[in-house]
């Protein structure tokens, strides 16, 4: 069947190449249209958030799908009431990025350079650590932090938030460092660099992209965290923005324009990452997915 079918087929293709090209072009445009429709439907809730945030005094009954006269009052209120929580979230997220990278970079370097049974055990432990339920940690952290006196502090939030970042960052960084050209690292040793020197002078600069990936993800984990913010913080002035938003939705009279504006502000890091740091996200997802 194959042989008989191929010969006439190739000859007809040769006879009308432009017709075929035109057909594939239309198929391509058709696929684009289908994709755009899928995206419009799928991302509708996000559009809805943006639209509602521009309609002060909006309720679920009178909400317009397209705001007639967009107003920024929702944002003014959200920023006025939530500025403190945004500051807490920002400091906690940046702090956990610093802690995570400080712990993960040297560990990943060691685990990528040394081959032994210890490394194999460490890798299994890392995978297990990624799957420890945060609620179990949160219960213990509450009691531990209480006796250490670091409930309601940045230190407590940063430590708790880093538990998501550290195992992930070590796995991502090690996977990248394994692929570094061994000769370059060795060349540093000929110049008299010890392990510390080659880490700082050679491995870190070469691993820049992987470090950014690990940092971006750690930031997003910490920024989006709700559970730790809800448990190791008990005073309103130390609530991260996620807990602030939860509080807004649970209040008696919900001002939806403010809630949606606050939600949109809390989504800015995610949106920024999609626009500005795509390739780092793709790299992180590839490794995090166990590829």
């Amino acid at each position: 069947m194959t042989r008989s079918a191929t010969n006439p087929a190739t000859s007809t293709v040769k006879a009308r190449p432009s017709a075929r090209r035109r057909r594939t072009k239309w198929v391509g445009i058709g696929l684009t249209v289908v994709s755009v429709v899928i995206l419009v439907v799928y991302l509708f809730p996000i559009y809805f958030m943006v639209s509602a945030s521009l309609q002060p005094g909006v309720t679920s009954v009178n909400v317009e799908w397209l705001p007639n006269t967009p107003q920024l009052d929702g944002y003014a209120t959200a920023l006025e009431e939530g500025l403190q929580s945004l500051q807490v979230s920002l400091i906690a997220a940046l702090g956990s990025v610093v802690v995570t990278l400080f712990v993960a970079i040297p560990a990943a370097y060691a685990l990528s350079r040394v081959r032994s049974r210890v490394v194999d055990v460490a890798l299994v432990l890392l995978l297990l650590a990624q799957m420890v339920p945060s609620i179990v940690l949160a219960n213990s952290f509450y009691a531990m932090f209480n006796s250490w006196g670091i409930l309601n502090t940045y230190a407590g939030l940063i430590i708790a938030d880093s538990t998501a970042g550290v195992p992930f960052a070590i796995i991502v960084l090690r996977a990248f460092m394994l692929r570094l050209d061994h000769d370059i690292v060795e060349a540093g040793k000929l110049d008299g660099l010890g392990p510390f020197g080659s880490l700082v002078r050679i491995v870190i600069p070469l691993s820049r992209n992987a470090i950014i990936t690990a940092g971006v993800f750690t930031f997003l984990f910490s920024w989006g965290d709700l559970l730790f913010g809800l448990t190791v913080v008990t005073q309103a002035q130390m609530y991260p923005v996620t807990v602030f938003i939860l509080g807004l939705t649970n209040s008696q009279v919900t001002n939806w324009a403010t809630v949606m504006a606050a939600s949109l502000i809390a989504s800015v890091p995610a949106l920024f990452v999609v626009i500005g740091a795509q390739r780092y996200v793709k790299a992180g997802i590839a490794v995090g997915g166990g590829r």
């Binding site: 081959r115 194999d120 650590a129 708790a160």
Partner: protein, 316 residues
Amino acid sequence: MSSLTDAAPRRPEQSRPGRRGLSFTGRNRAETLVFLIPAILFFALCFVFPLGYGVYMSTTDFTTGTFFTGKAPFVGLDNFVDIFSTPLLGKAVINTIVITVVSVVVELVVGFALALHFNRRFPGSRWLPMLLLIPWLLPAVVVGTIWKWLLSGDGAVNDILHALGLPTNAWLADPSTALWAVIAVSIWGALPYWVTILGAALKQVPDEQLEAAQLDGAGAWKRLIHIIIPSVWPVISVLVVMSIVYTLLIVDLVLVLTQGGPADNTVTLGLLSYRSAFQLFEFGNAGAYGMVLLVISLLFAGIYTWLSRRGERREQ
């Protein structure tokens, strides 16, 4: 890791099996292990100690009073007897399983279909899938908040259903639909991740094989079953197990959407642990729920580890 088998014959030192050497001298090797110290301290402080503390709490009558008196009487397995005798536990286990199984199955099937779609070449096929990733990157609170409003009695979802002539409902307030609404929102947030990973895996499927099969007269369906699915299978298996673990632990989305209600119809194991500790201040029971959750997730984590290590070994 293939190091164990590779290294053994070439290195004479019997005392250190598995050492490949890599031209690191013993001293440098020791110095390198020093780099692990911050990580070891971190894991001891943030994983080993809290988990041990969790086990301790689950065997004591740990309450708010404990924080003042420092006393938590040992009660053995009473907390476990306590939680296993409430009807809530059974409900939570069933809900957790339903949420997990339905979410993962739908995510796999729809995610695979979308990945196949976005993997074809068309204008915009590079950056359009990236926009799809936004819901996954949003904080769970934001996802929950938007949907809580969309799904409310007079919300936008009902407006659309009404316009289409379909039945409307207060989806999150109706005990018979609340769990399904939670599942739908959880799928909305997780699906983009599946599409992205499966899309990356599909790009690795060898084109020559597909073309050869096409020349042999294999239709799209046959190519899918015999070539595409087998070659992305390792990715699918790891993804399924990982998603099972993450969905099992669902707490934050439920907290935002329903807080376990209406009438405890959407409680999950994680939510019960949270509720015991931070709403009822019964840390002993919270610890017991936590241990149940931990055992389940470690079980799946074990499977995940085995699968991904096997994959890594195959790659080398």
